[in-house]
Symmetry: C2
Subunit: 350 residues, 2 copies
Amino acid sequence: MATMPTTHDGSYDGARDAAQGGTRHRTHDVSGDAPVPDLSTVWLRVFLEVARHGSFTVAARTLGWTQSAVSRQVSALEAALGGARLFDRLPRGVRLTEAGRVLVPHAEAVAQSLHGAARELAALREVAGGRLRFGAFATADAALVPWALAAFRARHPGVRVTREEGLTPALLDRLTAGHLDLAVVSTTRPAPLEAYELHHLLDEPLYVAVPAGHPLAGHPRPVALGRLAGADWISGSPRPEGTLLDAVLRQGFRPRITHVVAEWTAKQGYVAAGLGVTLVPALAATSVRPDITLLRLRDEDAPARGVYAATVRGRSLSPAAQAFIGVLREAAVSAVPAATTASAAPVVPG
Amino acid sequence: MATMPTTHDGSYDGARDAAQGGTRHRTHDVSGDAPVPDLSTVWLRVFLEVARHGSFTVAARTLGWTQSAVSRQVSALEAALGGARLFDRLPRGVRLTEAGRVLVPHAEAVAQSLHGAARELAALREVAGGRLRFGAFATADAALVPWALAAFRARHPGVRVTREEGLTPALLDRLTAGHLDLAVVSTTRPAPLEAYELHHLLDEPLYVAVPAGHPLAGHPRPVALGRLAGADWISGSPRPEGTLLDAVLRQGFRPRITHVVAEWTAKQGYVAAGLGVTLVPALAATSVRPDITLLRLRDEDAPARGVYAATVRGRSLSPAAQAFIGVLREAAVSAVPAATTASAAPVVPG
DNA sequence: GCGATCGATGCGACAAGCGAATGTCTAGCA
DNA sequence: TGCTAGACATTCGCTTGTCGCATCGATCGC
């Protein structure tokens, strides 16, 4: 498996403090010399079973073993525990000694811990427990994530889900730092994301948002992007690189950015006022104000960006994360069908 | 706790799990299915150590193992836990997965239970914990047990001691029933006690209590028991068998019992009033009222009774019980030196 | 690029643990 | 009192598991 560490401090975040035990050395203890003996959990079943039945033979029968195995297991346990007899051997069975009586609750505690661990791990495996920490960018949060989240919570109510918002780069940083298990990100060029495992969700076309009265607003067919080369563009950043306009750059012309507006609602206002045009991802198409028209672009030069569920490469995916990727994919095809099939423009009639 | 009487009567109130056959393979488990507890405690140390250090190699160094052993232990653990990865293998070490993070507290709970068990067993072994339930007959409680009990409590303050009073037969019944760990009993003929392990404490001579004005009260030397053959005797039971007078029977004459008085203080009153004589064990010699004289009997026919710490034969003695027998022996030689050395009569001058 | 680091794995050896059979002890019974 | 049945302990082969050693593959820092 290929791995990609980038940031690995050699420790794990949660358990260091919980371990509380940089000072717990087993080599020599002060009083009692409690050596935490090397025991198999087999002894636990055997011990409790024998204690319950008061007989090696009966315990062996219920365990599916032979009597000699039980006898030796108990002997080994007694030897490992410092030689203290745990059972009095009687002619008609065995009987707990004081030491054995003392051991019973501890053995039961161990069994309970083991049982709880197995149960919790099983819950984790069946996506009935554990936690899922994910992040998503804004437009995904508008049209994709809610549906996926609803389906996930309905299907796996036991999973504790926490969500974050942020731009793709910030989410990836959170992912690398280990604060997120999964991030819904978008990119027009997957190259710089090679450090992450990208689970493809959908490729969403980018539409051009124009004011309702724009000359191209009534155009019956997808328009060529070049026809907008001379338009004023509104972007979230003064430089097109790294933004949605990155896709435009690869179409051969450098857009003239006249206004820098980051917030999505505000950006719509600028477009509606005729101050310029901007690119709108398909996921945001349903939340466009009515006095704006979205133009579909010609397939051959239509910019698109991919939406991915990103995880850290080499870091194991929890079953919950895998399941969440599944529902994200479902949401991608059901909530945004326009992204997969071409239809006539405009997408949303002004 | 249960299983007191004749060994296995049923079950102790405890965990009700187990009863799982095979099917521990990594097939799809239903949630809540019985766990797979076939693990060694070795994995526990390995897992926590690896989790703490974030490295197989470092964990191996601290454990005194090789890296390959740690690697395979972790792999075995992961396989035993259903195949879920517990660590992400990174180029610079390992990192807990979600499953591993879930497992940490359970593993620590197991370690804590094991540690607590070892500590409590060590305390038991060093007579620093546990319980001791003993019983004693009345005169032993007057002169022997208090000293032993004081020494024991001072030496082993951690042991929870419970005491019962009763006659020898009742104490032995309690012992057999499992309600006592040890019983201080007395007998003139140890034959019927063969079912028990008798730890000899002392042989106490029996004195004859006579009123201060009795003709033999001023006798300078031990008297022959036969000189009291014609006396009126006071006994705790209408028949001498099974009582202190049992010893007299073996001296050849059957005492004439004129008064039956069980309680010791009352019996003294009868003797002081000149209504008869009675036998007084040495342990009670110090608590005789001043108007009574105790006569030492000639060695050759002096009745004596043995005082023993009785335990159930074949039932293991707890270290606390063994220690208590020790202090009982110490108390026997220090508190009742008269029992071991012959001295001039009377024991207690009237 | 090259050495260093870290985990995984094949191999040989050793120890642990199992089943089957046998031994020992005791209670119950005639 | 002798016999039988039941229960735990022990011995004997054999399987299984686990460790150390050596090596491989992958990756990072210089």
